[in-house]
Symmetry: C2
DNA sequence: TCAGAGGTATGGTTCAATCCTTACCTTTGG
DNA sequence: CCAAAGGTAAGGATTGAACCATACCTCTGA
């Protein structure tokens, strides 16, 4: 069962949900940046500078979280988003590399 | 430019379109079967036994074709669908393996 | 020649994704 | 204490995806 914040366990991750999450260009941009960053990088939603409202940000990050791509942890003032790199790589090897390899010019 | 039937050239394939096409479980089922089959296997739309109408079949196979996943060639009586295995593998290595590795119990 | 199989096109419905605005909560930091 | 920042929730508009029924086209094969 996913935890209270909707993080699925690795064995609960669904390929369909991951692909659907990554089909959106904004969400793919977030994941691509995290893949290219240092392994344990933590970022706030706002820090990606996506051209949408705060409410839409919440939506997109929920999709990423519930698919299992990111983990969001409470940091008091904010919620830090972190790529679940190793867990994804173990279950769906090569997936993150595909996203990272995409042309940066979206 | 895609040809008259909407087949994109390898360099025209968009990761977003491929992921969106593969996000649908029926379409993923088609691709998974083709990946597991003999390399040059040709199948008709109907042969996959998908639980949708003929009109919906046309829709799904168009999505697969326009994303670049399959090639549909005229065989007179019918149109044969063939996986564009090598072209996809060259441009998005590992993508097909992910689909093929998914649990067969959809 | 013509019935049937494989596909496509059209028109229309339904449902979900995306997006926004507004309002509100929590924590930090002055 | 209180303003500002990060984030969520609720409500509503818009768009597109998926689906079906029907009609139609083309080719095969009896």
């Amino acid at each position: 069962m996913p935890d209270a914040d909707g993080h699925p366990e690795p064995e609960e991750m669904q390929l369909g949900a991951l692909l659907a999450a990554l089909a959106d260009p904004l969400r793919r941009r977030v994941i691509a940046e995290l893949v290219r960053a240092e392994p344990l990088t933590e970022r706030t939603c706002v820090s990606f500078g996506l051209p949408v409202s705060k409410a839409s940000l919440t939506h997109h990050f929920r999709v990423l979280r519930e698919a299992g791509l990111i983990r969001q942890v409470d940091r008091g003032n904010s919620r830090a988003a972190q790529l679940r790199r190793d867990e994804i790589e173990a279950r769906f090897p090569g997936l993150l590399a595909l996203v990272a390899a995409e042309d940066r010019a979206l």
